[in-house]
């Protein structure tokens, strides 16, 4: 019996061990299989949602592009163009050097004094905006949006339609409100705004990673893949010309349509301006239209006192708007105002900013 017991025990032990191992293996396999199934289900769901969203969003895009957007939703944008090389567009890796700077112009990040014409630079692109001709039709805004694929809600250029002055209390006045009757003693302006491509740009100087730069021909541009998205340049721009692109999640701004300019075309807003209020050209060329305009008319800039040396020149700009616009005018057109301001509150009663804390801010 004693021998039998001893012989049974060593046999039983490996059997038990094997059984336990087998059970563990089954449990592990089933758990991992269930996990993979669940995960693949969830992935399929999220992919379906993404595909549906992208179908909605990118209706006109090719299948390959939609797939690219699905895999890299944060970069699903025009910043890394997925375009045909035979069309003259390069690969994404080289787009910065080949598309946007075909002449290999130097990039300048600081010490902007070196831009002073010690030696004559080939070009210095500027824009002259003749406010006598602007009718506030917003055609430039539309053409900019379609040319540069600017997302909904943000603008590379926009036309503020504002009025300055006061409403004078007058019993015979034409404006009747709850507070009384007024006669307007105001002046109305349309003020096209865009990046001023300053010669001493604070936005370029403050960029911590040199993602934004001033090209030698005067353009202030952004190298989007290097952008940290810290927002310092957006806060440092006195003209509010920069914004966060809500699709690519980097800083973004007017480029003077550099993709057109490098191919010898005018910026989109200039070509679409119905009254030829926007005139674009080379300031280094004394015979260009901008040079002749600047030579023959008094021009001024926005916020000259900040010393940013803006390169967008205005003819017939009201001094109130030039220096300290923010507190001295009333906005007339709500589609050109900040929808995130109390100004918008006053005009429409609501701000459409969604907050997770409950509903929309500003709703009563």
């Amino acid at each position: 019996m004693g021998q039998g017991d001893e012989s049974v025990k060593p046999e039983q032990k490996p059997v038990a061990r094997r059984r336990i191992l087998r059970q563990m293996a089954i449990v592990a396999i089933s758990v991992s299989a269930a996990g993979t199934l669940l995960r693949s289900k969830a992935q399929a769901k999220s992919l379906q949602a993404l595909a549906a969203a992208s179908r909605k969003q990118w209706k006109g895009e090719s299948r390959a592009q939609v797939q690219y957007y699905n895999t890299k939703p944060r970069w699903a944008s025009w910043t890394v163009p997925q375009l045909n090389v035979s069309d003259g567009w390069s690969e994404p890796s080289g787009w910065m050097s080949k598309i946007e700077n075909s002449r290999n112009l130097p990039y300048i990040h600081d010490n902007f004094n070196r831009l002073l014409p010690v030696t004559k630079l080939p070009h210095h692109w500027v824009m002259v905006i003749d406010l006598r001709r602007c009718i506030g039709c917003q055609a430039c805004v539309v053409s900019c949006k379609s040319e540069n694929n600017v997302p909904v809600g943000v603008y590379r250029t926009w036309v503020q339609v504002v009025e300055t002055g006061t409403m004078v209390p007058d019993s015979q006045g034409s404006v009747v409100t709850d507070q009384g009757t007024f006669e307007p003693n105001v002046k109305r302006f349309s003020l096209p705004r865009l990046c001023n491509h300053c010669d001493a740009p604070p936005c370029v100087e403050v960029c911590p990673v040199k993602a934004t730069f001033k090209r030698e021909d005067g353009l202030v541009l952004i190298d989007y893949p290097k952008c940290l998205g810290c927002g310092y340049c957006i806060n440092a721009c006195p003209y509010d010309a920069r914004f966060f692109n809500p699709i690519q999640q980097t800083a973004d701004k007017c480029t003077f349509c550099v993709q057109r300019l490098d191919r010898g075309l005018l910026p989109a807003c200039v070509t679409s301006c119905v009254g030829r209020a926007r005139i674009f050209g080379d300031l280094n060329d004394p015979n260009s239209e901008v040079s002749r305009l600047i030579a023959s008319y008094p021009t001024t800039h926005l916020k000259t006192t900040l010393g940013t040396k803006p390169q967008v020149f205005y003819i017939d700009l009201d001094g109130v708007l030039a220096e300290d616009g923010a507190n001295t005018f009333n906005t007339l057109y709500p589609y050109a105002v900040g929808t995130n301001t109390e100004e918008y509150d006053d005009l429409t009663g609501k701000v459409l900013l969604q907050t997770p804390t409950g509903g929309e801010r500003g709703t009563p």
Partner: protein, 416 residues
């Protein structure tokens, strides 16, 4: 789909949200708690000797958590490497971050080593050379003598003196980020770095008061009332300095006759009569400066622990409100629109209250880890072997008399 403050619409927005409010707050706590530790290390105030190791740990934990706030606010945080690869310094104030933060980290590592070296060696000796933790933390040093400890104190004095400068630099550069932005009239003032540093002192001292009391309560130890009252005295001194700085700031930015148009217009429209008036007058000035000053005047309040806690917590709230009034209120002034920009802080998601709580949770976990590793407890401090000689001889006598288990390791100076 993108939600919350990731979605910007319209012409003007508050681009730097709650995370950037938290960034100067945390870095202020770093600088302030470091200065509390240097009260003992540099200025040799014996009263704060027990608190100095804890203050170093708090400062280091918050220093590690500080960059999370900036990364959390950045839209492309994975591009952080560009800061090191192509940092735009000395032109961009933000680009200084890597330089200052990393050198501060290195300095804090040295500070941690020298502040705990003697205790770590003695713990290694007590474990008879077996403890891997203390063998690592001592980095090969085996000198447990009293002379070594005094040498450590001399090194710490130099390190902390440099550290105060680093703390001021670390916090002052954040003030300079705002002070150098000329597009924002409420930010562009040379007072900004000084304002930030002074309120950093205030908040750091208040934090150390709270941490000291909480830790003592946690370990069921009596609170050192002399130490707590000493901290409160420093707190009130810096609150007075902060009051002075706030008065200067108010005079040079709120009164139209004394300043430029956009500055006074923005101040009056946003901080005096606008959406932030209750934060400015109620929280920053009323709670942050009023409560500690009034509490200090009343002896019953300043002598009681509850009163001290009230004063410290009020200061912590007030300094956070001050950061809010700088970061958010400065951006609420519109650049081109004709009214005040609205702001909405989400509860969850990007740049939200949830992420701020997360950052503080990270700092707390890091602090717990550091407090578990380093022997900071004043009541567990092992005295030098010279101090123990008398005890050792008595122990040997006891051992000779046949009482077991009391003999210590021989010599106690060197283990292999």
């Amino acid at each position: 789909m993108l939600q919350g403050s990731l979605v910007h619409s319209g012409l003007e927005n508050v681009y730097w949200g709650l995370m950037i409010v938290t960034y100067p707050y945390i870095s202020g706590l770093v600088a302030g708690s470091f200065v509390v530790s240097s009260l003992s290390h540099v200025f040799h105030q014996k009263l704060f000797d027990d608190l100095a190791p804890l203050a170093v740990l708090v400062s280091f934990a918050l220093l590690l958590a500080a960059p999370l706030t900036v990364l959390g606010d950045a839209r492309q945080p994975m591009n952080f490497w560009e800061l090191m690869a192509r940092g735009h310094w000395p032109y961009s104030p933000i680009a200084f971050f890597i330089l200052i933060w990393m050198s501060y980290i290195v300095l804090m590592l040295f500070e941690l080593y020298f502040a705990f070296r003697a205790q770590n060696v003695r713990r290694l000796i007590r474990s008879q050379g077996q403890s891997r933790l203390y063998r690592f933390l001592t980095l090969g040093s085996r000198n447990a003598s009293l002379a070594g400890e005094t040498r450590d104190k001399r090194v710490l004095m130099v390190l902390s003196a440099i550290g105060i400068l680093m703390a001021f630099l670390f916090h002052g550069y954040i003030g300079f980020i705002f002070g150098s932005t000329k597009a924002r009239p409420l930010w562009a003032t040379p007072l900004m770095p000084v304002l930030f540093i002074v309120s950093a002192m205030v908040s750091g001292i208040a934090l150390m008061w709270v941490v000291n009391v909480l830790v003592m309560r946690f370990y069921h130890r009596p609170v050192n009332r002399a130490l707590a009252n000493g901290l409160l005295t420093y707190l009130v001194l810096f609150v007075l300095l902060d009051l002075y700085m706030d008065a200067v700031d108010f005079l040079t930015s709120a009164i139209p006759a004394y300043t430029q148009g956009p500055v006074s217009q923005g101040f009056q429209r946003i901080l005096m009569y606008g959406p932030n008036s209750w934060v400015y007058f109620g929280l920053q000035l009323g709670v942050g400066l009023g409560i500690p000053l009034i509490g200090w005047i009343i002896p019953q309040v300043r002598r009681s622990l509850a009163g001290g806690a009230l004063m410290s917590l009020a200061v912590l709230v007030g300094v956070f409100a001050m950061r809010w009034d700088v970061v958010i209120a400065g951006q609420e002034q519109s650049k081109i629109s004709s009214n005040v920009v609205t702001v909405a802080i989400p509860w969850t998601g990007f740049d939200s209250i949830q992420t701020v709580i997360g950052v503080f949770a990270v700092a707390f976990v890091v602090f717990m880890g550091l407090a578990w590793v380093f022997p900071w407890q004043s009541w567990n401090r092992i005295p030098a072997a010279e101090d123990q000689e008398a005890r050792e001889t008595s122990a040997r006598q006891q051992a000779a008399q046949g009482i077991p288990g009391t003999a210590t390791s021989e010599g106690g100076h060197v283990v292999s």
